[in-house]
Amino acid sequence: MGAGFHGGFGATKGSRSSNEAYPGAVKLVKPGPGEEFGKYAMKAPPKPGYTDVIIHGDPDKDLVAIFHNGKWTNIDQRRLATYVKHDLGYKSGPIRLISCGTGKKEFAQNFANKMGVEVIAPSDTVWAHPNGSLTIGPKAYINNGKWNTFKPKKGGR
């Protein structure tokens, strides 16, 4: 059975025109393996009031990961919070965490606790398409997931 795809190389309405540093976005996907995820996700239409944090997820470990100095390194919610707070792309306010599976278990809740702001995160794998559309699901052409919302809790991790 065939399946349709969600986004071509043309721009999606409201999408950002640049994949460089941009107010309202923190891109933690650097040149190297998987870099297209950062490029495509930067084209996603911004969600008003939210800052996008774009980083690869590691659902097995319920962590996120960056490619640095030639190897992948896992980072937890504490280090991610430190990175985000020091990035010029983040001022304040809620965050859309564009990172695979981080809204499925505890990562996004822990991150929200650490940041002290609301975080929305995908319930499953998030796919970024060339035109900036984002889909959530087990495959790029199955968009059956959702953005889960996490409010910060006092005394959290």
Binding site: F5, G34, F37, G57, W127
Partner: protein, 121 residues
């Protein structure tokens, strides 16, 4: 437009349970291994996955990459496929490899894909 799935094995994170097993296709004699791996790595990213995946046969070997959907305009394959060809001598379907040969091992730099009329089978 139709893209044909190749190189998805049921052990992989985003494959189907009905896909073939990698275990039945590794350790084979691979002609043109270097060219195949380069071709696979040069695929155009049709959909970028925000996830990293580990070696599914030996998880202790760690992270092998991101399972993006890659294409050459005819076939679609996962971003971690080249790793298994390189490291486990994973044999691919002849029709897929023969197409690479017919293209002189070059993936087109640009592909005109009509996303409103795209099927994956």
């Amino acid at each position: 437009m139709i893209l044909y799935r190749r190189g998805y094995y049921k052990e992989m994170a985003h494959a189907d349970v009905t896909d073939p097993s990698m275990l039945d296709n590794i350790g084979k004699k691979i002609e043109h291994k270097k060219e195949i791996c380069k071709y696979l790595q040069n695929g155009i990213v049709l959909a970028a996955c925000g996830e990293i995946v580990k070696d599914v046969l030996h998880p202790e070997k760690g992270i092998v990459g991101t399972p993006d959907d890659l294409t050459d305009g005819k076939w679609i394959w996962p971003g971690d496929l080249a790793y298994y060809v390189q490291n486990y001598d994973l044999k691919l379907d002849d029709d897929f490899v023969n197409y690479m040969i017919s293209q002189h091992w070059n993936v087109p730099k640009e592909i005109d894909i009509d996303y409103d009329d795209l099927e994956v089978i």
